[in-house]
């Protein structure tokens, strides 16, 4: 009896092992690149909005590469680049990106697309921030001591939010300022449950608003631009980096096909595009100094 029992168990697990081993070798493509795997370190917003789900299958089909998406906060995504643990970065924290470029860890930083950040909050808007400029909106929240939920995860959105507080000359205080330490979706959910205010990128907001009672209160301020750049990790500094793959991915994002897909993305589902394609432009063209 015992032998049967163990044999049965072993057979189940071994079958699993064999199938698992078989998974590695699938997915033949027209032109087989030498190193097929590309590690793309990016922000949660490109994944949670569904943009990568639309772009990657097309790129993989065309190029034969397999993109491994590690979607984390922009702070961690940049850190992975600085340590040579990723091949290509798609991130949205221009100031922090420039620092990484300066260290020589990444090269070929190119503008891909932008959208904007918006402040969302409860419909009854207890702090009265609706349609205010960003500075006075933040001042009203601080004075009313209404709940503000911060990402608190060193992401691009978090960096942007901290910069906005700083620019308004305000120091958020414990008590009404809550640090979630979570991705955008989770942070929006917390803000919704607590009926607080938060800063979100428009793409994630549009994807999630069906579950929300919050509403957009502040938008359209030039300081709320959310700009995404692609950077290749420097293969001269990190020899294990998949240089050809990183270049191919960057090239695809900026190709007319890639740019058109970005510009169209979301129109069918949300009635408006989630991102504006900016291939070939610079930050100056967007009005950023």
């Amino acid at each position: 009896m015992k032998q049967k029992l163990w044999a049965g168990l072993a057979a189940i697990c071994l079958a699993g092992a064999l199938l698992l081993a078989g998974c590695g070798g699938q997915g033949a493509a027209k032109t087989e690149p030498a190193n097929k795997d590309i590690i793309l370190s990016t922000t949660t917003s490109t994944r949670d909005s569904g943009l990568l789900d639309a772009l990657l299958p097309v790129f993989e089909q065309e190029s034969g590469y397999k993109v491994k998406v590690i979607a984390v906060g922009t702070g961690q995504a940049l850190k992975m680049g600085e340590q040579g643990e990723a091949d290509v970065l798609l991130v949205h924290a221009p100031e922090a990106e420039k620092k990484v470029l300066a260290t020589g860890a990444a090269v070929n930083r190119k503008l891909v697309m932008h959208n904007d950040f918006v402040f969302v909050g409860p419909k009854n808007d207890p702090s009265g921030i609706a349609k205010q400029p960003v500075d006075s909106a933040l001042r009203n929240i601080a004075q009313a001591k209404e709940t503000f939920v911060s990402r608190g995860d060193d992401s691009g959105t978090h960096k942007m939010e901290l910069a906005l507080w700083k620019k308004a000359g305000l120091q958020p205080e414990e008590g009404w300022y809550r640090s979630a330490g979570a991705g955008m979706g989770q942070t929006l959910k917390i803000a919704d449950e607590r009926q607080g205010y938060t800063l979100t990128d428009r793409a994630t907001w549009l994807a999630l608003q069906k579950n929300m009672t919050l509403t957009i209160l502040v938008e359209g301020d030039p300081s709320l631009l959310n700009i995404y750049h692609v950077m290749e990790v420097n293969s001269e500094k990190f020899t294990k980096v998949n240089k050809a793959g990183a270049q191919a991915f960057s090239k695809f994002l900026l190709s007319s096909k890639g740019q058109q897909m970005i510009a169209e993305f979301g129109k069918d589902k949300y009635g408006q595009a989630l991102f504006f394609a900016d291939g070939g432009k610079t930050e100056a063209d967007l009005g950023v100094k």
């Binding site: 009896m1 697990c13 699993g16 698992l20 491994k68 998406v69 590690i70 979607a71 294990k240």
Partner: protein, 234 residues
């Protein structure tokens, strides 16, 4: 409330339609955690038996080490495996990070101590005179071990069930070392977290339900084997 209703409806629909994307995730979960459980059993049961029946230097230390392993926070295991498997980490040349194998390694590190510790308890709780009697009757050490394992099989099967349960329910470490890559390292737990992040609660609930069904089926099979074994021996 609406989410729960919709989620249940959606889950049943996905299950009935045998949605290929969902099935793929479920199948991968079974493969990764099944393999991790198997390796944990292969390592853990003999270790538990040895600790229970042999006296050697460092045995006490090893027992406490295994018991600490039972309470090992998975997130620490995830961090440790990540650091080892980083491209520029000590084992970076193996290129295992963000593959199912990395998840198997992490899950084994989490589940094996549990299997070892529960196997140890199962054998220790047998009558302590039994091994002596077996040896006195002329059994060799290995023959005696085999008989002890047979005697303790109910408890050992419980150890196997616990090991599988621990491996399949792991989320933090799996996310960290697997990267939650679609069709590659996305298992039911990490898919659930992802869909919550995307605000797709219906899909998250269906992944959760499928995970429950999967665990139930595996445990049911093991339990049937356990009970069959019990009858066969009495």
């Amino acid at each position: 409330m609406t989410y729960i209703g919709q989620g249940l409806g959606e889950a049943v629909r996905l299950l009935l339609q045998l949605d290929p994307a969902v099935l793929k995730v479920a199948w991968l979960t079974l493969q990764v955690s099944g393999l991790a459980a198997l390796i944990s059993v292969v390592l853990g049961v003999p270790l538990g038996c040895a600790l229970a029946t042999r006296r050697f230097r460092g045995r006490g230390a090893l027992v406490s080490f295994v018991n600490v392993g039972m309470g090992m926070p998975p997130v620490v295991v995830g961090l440790l495996v990540s650091l080892l498997l980083w491209r520029y980490g000590p084992l970076g040349d193996w290129q295992l990070l963000y593959t199912p194998w990395a998840m198997v390694i992490a899950q084994v590190l989490i589940a094996a101590p549990i299997v070892a510790s529960l196997s140890f308890s199962a054998i220790v709780s047998l009558d302590e005179r039994l091994p002596l009697q077996l040896l006195a009757l002329g059994a060799s050490r290995l023959q005696a071990d085999r008989l002890l394992i047979k005697e303790a099989k109910l408890g050992l099967l419980a150890a196997v069930i616990a090991g599988f349960g621990r491996a399949v329910s792991e989320v933090g470490a799996s996310m960290m070392v697997g990267g939650n890559l679609k069709d590659e390292t996305r298992v039911l737990t990490t898919a659930t977290v992802l869909e919550v992040g995307k605000g797709n609660y219906e899909l998250a609930i269906s992944f959760g339900l499928i995970l429950l069904v999967l665990v139930y089926l595996v445990v049911a099979v093991l339990t049937v084997l356990q009970q069959a074994g019990k009858r066969g021996c009495s």
